[in-house]
């Protein structure tokens, strides 16, 4: 017995996120920690719940263990529902074939059965790698009012950056007349945010025909949208204004964390009208030691701070020992910064120990490329890790073997 839903959300969470290097070696990009106590996927999931959407399919593929565990039954987002709720959808074996998801459109195509169960009028397609707050219900109203077949939310970007995005050229009514993927000479600055609302029938029609097309790459941006435009379907651009950040690279992940800081942060986690939910580990309060010094930082439960923390974001259970300095950095769960170590312009992944007196990242301002230390590593005392360096287990072996203290 499935209750009909007006709109079902499908969250594409299968991406490997290879540009996050060691941070996504063992976890899918949407499960990468963000902002102290969140993971990237908390943002689209919380947006869904805050927008009144209670049925969400999460399409997973790459390293799904942590992500599945994190989503669980959906309780932190109030998505543990009898009718609807959150459902993790991995690729599966069918009678005729068994395929990995070969593209964004193919992932949805393989899960049409899931969508059919709820008989929705609309399907919202989301991706799991953006930090933003958005009312999808407002976008759905826009979609209905415009009598749209497909609505794509767009963000105004600076002209200089427009060539990094999919650009939607629209007429004065908002109807999309042309789509250009990463154009060299962009005609407008309406960048696609990778958020689509489709009428269910149109979506199914195009997914089925796209699946039969051997030349298709099974991608919404590359295949489905251009085909719909060519067929004269009604596609509309929904203008979004507000904070939106693709955190697909080390630099942008670091920047988005820094955007949480300051008296009036660019992205406000304290907004009571649009709360971001996350799965909490229920740790004790954080402890600030007698000689600690903190400024312009976010600190989460379970931390113990005895050293100096400035302009940084600390996840739960991080320990900063006496004399250690953490500046302009993102430190993830359970990492330990030992005595007199200095971490600056860096991202340190979960459970890693930075040894006594080690130097990680550029030690001087202005900012240099961000250094990354992977999870569960033991960085020996006095090690120097340069700006922009990526340290994972094999790189650490090299450093050790070379007796490389530089």
């Amino acid at each position: 017995m499935y209750q009909k839903k007006e709109c079902v959300a499908m969250l594409l969470a299968g991406g490997q996120g290879s540009r996050l290097y060691t941070l996504t070696e063992k976890t899918a990009k949407p499960a990468v920690p963000f902002g102290g106590k969140y993971r990237i996927i908390d943002f689209p999931l919380s947006n869904c719940v805050n927008s009144g959407l209670d049925t969400v399919g999460v399409l997973t593929q790459y390293q799904p263990l942590q992500l599945n565990e994190y989503i669980g039954n959906g309780q932190p987002w109030d998505l543990d529902r009898t009718r609807g709720g959150v459902m993790v959808l991995p690729p599966y074996q069918r009678q005729q074939s068994a395929d990995w998801y070969s593209g964004t459109a193919n992932a949805i195509f393989q899960n049409l059965q899931f969508i059919d169960r709820y008989d929705p009028d609309y399907v919202l397609i989301l991706s799991g790698d953006h930090i933003y707050k958005m009312d999808y219900e407002a976008m759905l109203s826009f979609h209905k009012k415009a009598g749209s077949d497909c609505t794509i939310s767009v963000l105004q970007v600076p002209l200089a950056e427009a060539s990094r995005f999919g650009i939607m050229n629209a007429d004065e009514t908002g109807r999309i007349v042309e789509f250009e993927e990463k154009p060299k000479h962009p005609k407008s600055t309406n960048a696609s945010m990778g958020i689509y609302i489709f009428g269910t029938d149109v979506l199914k029609e195009y997914l089925i025909s796209d699946d039969a097309d051997p030349k298709s790459t099974k991608d919404f941006g590359r295949d489905i949208i251009p085909k719909m435009l060519a067929d004269g379907k009604r596609l509309f651009a929904y203008p979004f204004s507000g904070y939106w950040k693709d955190v697909g690279t080390i630099e942008s992940l670091w920047e988005a964390n820094m955007d949480l800081l300051g008296v009036t942060p660019s992205f406000d986690l304290f907004d009571q009208n649009w709360r971001i939910y996350s799965r909490s580990t229920a740790q004790p309060p954080h402890l600030i030691g007698p000689d600690a010094s903190l400024s312009n930082s976010l600190v989460t439960e379970g931390c113990e701070i005895y050293g100096t923390v400035e302009n940084s974001v600390l996840s739960d259970g991080v320990i900063v020992e006496a004399g250690a300095v953490v500046r302009e950095s993102v430190i993830m769960s359970g990492a330990v910064i030992r005595k007199n170590a200095s971490v600056r312009y860096s991202i340190v992944d979960s459970e890693t120990v930075i040894g006594e007196g080690a130097r990680v990242g550029s030690q001087e301002s202005p900012r240099a490329p961000i250094a990354v230390v992977g999870g569960s590593l033991e960085i020996p005392p006095e090690t120097v890790i340069e700006a922009g360096e990526m340290v994972n287990a094999s790189r650490l072996d090299e450093i050790r073997r070379g007796g490389d203290k530089r």
């Binding site: 004790p284 309060p285 030691g289 976010l298 439960e301 974001v313 600390l314």
Partner: protein, 373 residues
Amino acid sequence: MKVVGIVFANLHERNIPELTADRTVGSIPFGCRYRLIDFTLSNMVNSGITDIRVATQYNYQSLMDHIGSGKNWDLARHSGGIKVLPPDKQGSPGHGASRLETLKSIRDSLSSIKADYLIMADCDGICNIDYSAILQDHIDHHADITMMVKRSPLTGTLGNRITLVESDENGNITGLARQPGNRSEEYDIFMNVAVISGQYLRLILQEAFSRDYHSLTMDIMMKQIGNYVYRVFRYDGTFAFINSLQDYFSYSMKLLADGSFRHALFGIPERPILTKVHNSPPTRYLEGATVRNSLVADGCCIEGVVENSVLFRGVHIGKNAVVRNSILFQNDRVGPGCSLNYLIADKNAVLQEGCVLSGHPLKPFFIAKSEVL
């Protein structure tokens, strides 16, 4: 073997009237993000007890809100789980009711519990204990009641409103007392945690009802010593009795000053203290914040100076405010330039710009819930 936990959320209100004006003892906030009942509930859950009844008489709105479905303690279950038991049709025995009176008021609900053993625990003790040991001791000695005690001198406010347990060398209880004869000695102090056999509980409830008894210790145990097996179980770990506002203050400060006390409560990985999850964002430290030797929950915003203090969730410390040796409950607002010392502010208090308030270590200044100064 079926073991059921009975938690008394209301007992001992009169010891600490300031913090129980509109909440139960069990829902007194402690340690930045916990409530006293979290220790009792977590101890039970961590000891494998997953069928828990919380007896409560009045003022239980905050308690119900805190417990919710019980999911935060993994107690939202079809079989067992947590049930809050307000008084049944005979009504509440009123303020200051005893343990036995509370049990009598939920007699109907209790009669459906077919437990072999029950662990009864109040909420006024802060500790992280595995109850398996006392349970095993109770079973091994075929006891009817086993009382958990802590050997301790009667320091501070301890000595008021407690039960002293006398026993022989085999651990059999020989007497119970309310008032100590000599304050300088060490006594076995009842920790308000006891194991009782299911059959025996049914028997004494019947008797208490028909003879209108009021006190488990005085009307039943004292009269029946020798006829039944009453035993002591000594616990020698960390235990803090919250017997007054002063105790509350000094144990909160002990969390800061004494790492081993903190560790004994929160540092045992297999026995975490569980609590309601609030989904607050991390705490923001802004420029100008100076924080030393303090415990801080999530969701705070700190722009001023904080020293030797305990800050609950969502506290805001304004610019140039100085907070020392104080406990600020959930969502307290401390305006710019305030200066606070030895103060406890209940939740949602607002201290407007420039307030200067100071109490004394033995008499902390208390600000009531939602008070605006």
